[in-house]
Symmetry: C2
Subunit: 455 residues, 2 copies
C-alpha cells in the first residue's frame, strides 16, 4: 500500500483545530505551522486560527486533501468522517474512547465508514505521524514536553504513543535522527504490516524499531516483518506476553494480543529480531541508530550469516568485566581468549599488572589511550568490542570519547560502551556518543546493545 | 568475628602515604584527614605529610594501631606486614598484583604471614572501607571522581571496587546514605561471610547490598548470608555465572567462582534474595535504600510470608502499563482486577474515557492528583503500587513528586515509579525521589524495584 498520503501528504485538514496550545487541537495545529503544504483548520467557532483561514466543517474546504487529522471526542468521529467524503485520501483518528474502553460498536462503525467512504484510517487512539524530512508533525504533544529528534534514518512504528515518545527521546539523546515515526493505536485499518511494507521500500529509512501490542492478521504480519527484516536492521518488541499483559494490552488498544509463545517462536524461525523488554528495545534502537551493523548496511535480500560472534571486553574495573562476560555468555557471544602473540605484543607496551586476558583489565592505573591500543591491536580477531570505563580514576578523562571514537573508525567494527555513573561520567558519555559509540549505564546493557549490531 | 578494628578503628597507619593527590597513597591520606582518631603516615622519604608527622617505617610508630592500610607495590607487601608485627590488629592490602595476575605464590606468602603475625587481612587488590558514621574513608578514589554518600543505613559488601563505586553512586543519587561500605578484593583472610556476620549485628546497618565473584567456603557463606537475610533486607549479585564469566572472575580476584547453578539453587532454598544482573542489583539497592519493605523493617529472626503480592499499576500511557503488567507476570506478581465497588467509586470521580482496569490508564488527559486518588482509594486491596508517568502532557507537572509522596506516606505501602525521559522528567524524578519514591527509567525496572520491597 502506498502510504505517501500519510507520511508525505501534500495537504492536511485538521478537524478539532484550536487556538490555544493548552488544547490538544491547538498543539497539533501549532506543530503543523512548519508544514510546507496546505493546512486547513476546521472549527465552527473560528474564522481564523494561528493566521490560517479556519473552516466550519470539512465541506467548506475548497480542495481535496491527502490527509485529515481528527482530534475531536470519539462520539463525533463518524460525523467528521462523513464530512470528509470525497475530500481526503486518509485520516488519522487521534481521539481515544473506542475499543480500549469497551466502545466496540463505535469503533466498528468508524471502521465501516472508512471502507464505505474510501478513506484509509490510522488509529483511533493514536499519536499520529512525524516525518522531519517532510516537515510533518501531527503529534498532540508539545515540543517542550517531547523534544523532536532531527532528520535521520531511524523509523519508529509503535502501537503505543507512550512507547513512541520514549523511543523518540532515545533517538534524540543519541544525536541521531528520524526518518518516519508513527503511533498507530487501535489499528482498525492501516496496521503495522502495511507500515512495514512501506518502510521496507522507503529510501530514507535505514533502521526500523517497532513496538506492538496486537498482531492482527498473523500471516500478513510475519510476511511483512520478515520482508523488512531481510532488507534493513529491524527490531521488534511485542508486549502482552502473558495473561495479565494480554488483558492490559486489550484494554489499551482494544485488540487481542494473542498467544505470545507461539508468536515468539515464529519470529525466531523467520530470523526476526525481538527485544525482550523496554530497555532492550531502547538499547538496541540506540545502537542501531548510531552504528552500521557488522558488515555494513544490509543489501536487499542478503541476510548476514549467524555464526558465533567473538567479543573483546576492555575494562578498567574487573567486576564490570566479569558481569559483561556473564552477559555475553547468556547472549551466546564468545569472549574468546586473546591470541598468544597479541598478548605478548600488548605485554610489551603495558605495565605488568594489567590483566591481559579477555576481559582486558586496564586496572585503576588506566590511561585513555590504552583502550585504543587494545582495539587496534585486536581488531582483526574480534567481531565487536565492549569498552567499560569507571571514570573515578585520574587516568580516565573526557578525551576517552575522542580516542575511542577514532579507534572505532579505524577498526570498522561495532563498539559499545558502559561508562559507570558519577564524576565526569556525563561528559565522557556525551563526547563518546558524539563520536558514534553508544554508551549504556551497565555492562550487561552494553553487551545487549552490541548484540543488536552483530546479528 | 569482631570487625570493629576495620569499620571503627581508633587509629590508622598508612604505608605508602604520599604528598600528592595524583598518587593513590596521597588520595588515601587526603581522605583520612577527616578521620578523628590517630593517623600515622609511613614513607621513608618524608618527615611530614599533609601536616602530619611521617614515619620512615611502621617500626617507628610510637603506638599500636587498630588498622594498617597498605598502598605499596605487591612485592613490598610482605616486608610491610613484617614491620607491622605487634603493631596492627588488621591490615587492608589495597595493592593489586597478586593471584588476579597469576602471582599465587606471593599471595600465599602474604596470607601465611598474616596468620603468623596475628594480623587480620582484608584484600589484597581491594578498595578498602568507608564508614561515614565514623568519618572513615580509605578509598584510593578522589572525592571529585567518586562523590561519597552521606551517613545512612545502607551497607555495601563488594568483592569488586568497580561495582562498589557504582553502588555508592546509586546510594548517593537516591538521597539516601551509607552505614558501612567495603571492597574486599581477593579475600585471602576476611571474606564476605565474616562481613555479613558483623553487619547482621551492626545497629547502623538497615539494608545490605552485596556483589560477590567467589564464594570461598560455601557452607560458611550460606550460613552467614541466611543469617543476615533473616534479619535485614539483603540482596546479592553473584557474577561468574558461566565458564566465560568464571574465567573472568578468576583473573579478576584470583579465586575460583564455582558452579553457579548449584549456588543459585541453594540461595533460593534458603530464601536469600538474588539479583540477576547489575541493573537489578542497582534497582533493588535503590528501592531498599529509600523505603521500608512491606510490613516494615524485619525483626530479628522473623521472615515475611511469601504469598503472591497484588500490584496496582497506575499509568498515563497504555503501552507502558502493558509492559509493566508483562513484567509483573514474569516476576510472579499479580496484577489483580480492581474490585467492582472501587471501580464504580473511581468512575464517579474520573472522566469516562479513563481506563479503570489494572493498569489504571489515566490517558493523556491525566492530572497529577489522579495518581493520589487511585492510590488512596485502592490502598487496602493491593500490596504495592507502580506509578508510571509520561511527562509529555500538560496535566503532569513537577508537583506529581509531592502529590505521590504524600499519598505514599498515607497508604503505607511500597511504591515505585517509572517516569519516561524527556521534558520535565528530570525535575519530577528529583522531587519524587526526595519524597521517598524510587524512580526508574523503564516500566519493567520499576516493577523489579517494587519486587525488592515486597519479599
Amino acid at each position: 500500500m502506498n502510504l505517501d498520503f500519510l507520511f508525505r501528504p501534500k495537504s492536511i485538514a485538521l478537524a478539532g483545530a484550536a487556538h490555544s496550545d493548552h488544547k490538544l487541537g491547538g498543539i497539533v495545529l501549532g506543530n503543523l505551522l512548519k508544514f510546507r503544504g496546505e493546512v486547513y483548520p476546521i472549527n465552527p467557532r473560528y474564522t481564523e486560527l494561528m493566521g490560517m483561514k479556519c473552516y466550519p466543517t470539512a465541506f467548506e474546504i475548497p480542495a481535496k486533501v491527502d490527509l485529515a487529522v481528527i482530534m475531536r471526542p470519539a462520539s463525533e468521529v463518524p460525523e467528521m468522517l462523513c464530512e470528509l467524503k470525497d475530500k481526503a485520501k486518509g485520516a488519522i483518528i487521534m481521539s481515544s474512547g473506542f475499543s480500549e474502553i469497551g466502545e466496540d460498536l463505535l469503533q466498528d462503525e468508524v471502521r465501516n465508514l472508512g471502507k464505505e467512504l474510501g478513506i484509509r484510517l490510522i488509529g483511533p487512539n493514536c499519536m499520529g505521524v512525524y516525518n522531519p524530512h517532510h516537515r510533518l508533525d501531527t503529534f498532540f504533544l508539545p515540543k517542550e514536553r517531547l523534544p523532536r529528534p532531527l532528520k535521520g534514518n531511524v523509523s519508529i512504528v509503535s502501537q503505543s504513543g507512550a512507547i513512541l515518545s520514549c523511543l523518540l527521546s532515545v533517538v534524540k539523546e543519541s544525536h541521531t535522527g528520524i526518518a518516519k515515526a508513527v503511533g498507530y493505536g487501535n489499528a482498525i485499518d492501516i496496521d503495522a504490516s502495511d507500515i512495514f511494507d512501506y518502510l521496507a521500500e522507503d529510501r530514507q529509512t535505514g533502521v526500523v524499531v517497532s513496538y506492538i501490542e496486537s498482531v492482527g492478521d498473523g500471516r500478513k504480519f510475519i510476511a511483512s516483518a520478515k520482508n523488512l527484516s531481510d532488507r534493513k536492521p529491524f527490531i521488534l518488541l511485542k508486549s502482552g506476553k502473558g495473561p495479565g499483559g494480554q488483558a492490559a494490552a486489550y484494554s489499551h488498544t482494544g485488540r487481542l494480543a494473542g498467544r505470545y509463545d507461539v508468536f515468539h517462536s515464529i519470529l525466531r524461525q523467520f530470523g526476526i529480531k525481538e527485544a525482550l523488554d523496554f530497555d532492550e528495545l531502547m538499547d538496541s534502537a540506540k545502537a542501531l541508530s548510531m552504528q552500521p551493523p557488522l558488515g555494513g548496511p544490509l543489501s536487499a535480500g542478503v541476510r548476514q550469516s549467524e555464526g558465533v560472534r567473538r567479543i573483546c571486553i576492555i575494562t578498567n574495573g574487573g567486576g564490570s568485566g566479569v558481569l559483561a562476560s556473564d552477559e555475553c555468555m547468556r547472549q551466546g557471544l564468545e569472549v574468546m581468549h586473546i591470541p598468544e602473540e597479541k598478548k605478548k605484543k600488548l605485554a610489551s607496551v603495558f605495565p605488568d599488572f594489567y590483566g591481559l586476558n579477555n576481559p582486558v583489565d586496564l586496572t585503576a592505573q588506566v590511561k585513555d589511550e590504552d583502550y585504543a591500543v587494545v582495539m587496534t591491536e585486536l581488531a582483526e580477531h574480534y567481531d565487536g568490542f565492549i569498552l567499560i570505563a569507571l571514570p573515578n580514576v585520574f587516568g580516565i578523562t573526557a578525551n576517552l570519547g575522542k580516542v575511542a571514537g577514532e579507534a572505532r573508525l579505524k577498526i570498522k567494527k561495532p563498539v559499545t560502551a558502559n561508562i559507570a555513573s558519577g564524576g565526569i561520567s556525563a561528559k565522557i558519555t556525551r563526547l563518546m556518543e558524539k563520536s558514534g559509540i553508544p554508551v549504556y549505564p551497565s555492562p550487561e546493557r552494553a553487551v545487549r546493545g552490541l548484540k543488536a549490531l552483530l546479528y
